[in-house]
Symmetry: C2
Subunit: 115 residues, 2 copies
C-alpha cells in the first residue's frame, strides 16, 4: 500500500485514514451518543460529562469538516442546533461496535470488572 495525501496530510494506510475520522478520545463517544438519540449540544454535554466545552466544540467541528455529521442551526430564541450522523458515519458504527466488543473482551481478560 502506497502512502497518499489528503487535505495536506500524509497517510500511510487506510487504517490511518479511518483513525483520522473516528480516532482520538472523543469522536467515538460523540458518534455513539448521536446514534443513541442525542441531537443537541447540551444533550451531548450531559451524555459525556467529562468532556470540556472546548473539546466538544473542536471535535464537533472536526467531525463536521470530515462529513461525519451535519449541523443544522435554527434561528430561534433560545438558539437550537441539531447534529445528525451522516451515512458515512453510520457505516462506521459496526466497526465501533466490534471495537467495543473487543474492549469488553480485553477487560474480562485483564480482570477489570464494572460492578
Amino acid at each position: 500500500m502506497k502512502e497518499f495525501i489528503y487535505d495536506n496530510k500524509i497517510y500511510y494506510s487506510p487504517i490511518e485514514f479511518a483513525m483520522a475520522h473516528i480516532g482520538g478520545t472523543w469522536k467515538i463517544p460523540i458518534l455513539l451518543c448521536l446514534r443513541k438519540g442525542s441531537t443537541r449540544y447540551g444533550d451531548l454535554k450531559k451524555a459525556i460529562p467529562h468532556i470540556s466545552d472546548k473539546m466538544l466544540f473542536t471535535q464537533l467541528r472536526e467531525l463536521e469538516d470530515k462529513e461525519m455529521l451535519t449541523r443544522q442551526s435554527f434561528l430561534e430564541k433560545p438558539p437550537r442546533v441539531e447534529y445528525q450522523l451522516t451515512e458515512k458515519a453510520k457505516k462506521a458504527l459496526p466497526v465501533i461496535d466490534q471495537m467495543n466488543t473487543y474492549g469488553i473482551f480485553l477487560m474480562k481478560e485483564m480482570g477489570v470488572f464494572t460492578e
Copy 2:
C-alpha cells in the same frame, strides 16, 4: 457504563480501553506486520520504513507491557530477538481488518485513489 481504573489510568468505556491497546499511529501497523510474518526488529523497520527507532522501540515495549506480543531474545552474536503476537492480539485482527475495510470505503468515498 461506569468508568474504571486500570494500571493507574482512568477509562470511560471499553472502546477507550481497546484504543489503549491498538490505538495510535504505530500499534496497528506493527501488529499487521507481525501477522504477515515479520518477527524481528529489522524486519519491522523494513516493513514500516517511516517509523523512527525511538517509536518502534517504545511501541514494542508498550505492546509487550500490554501483553499484545511476546519478546524472545536469543543470546547469539549478532543478537537475535523475535516478536510474536499473543492470543489477545490475534483477537484484535478481525477488528483491525474491519477498520481497514472502513478506511478503504472512506478513501473511495472521498475520491482518494492509490494508483
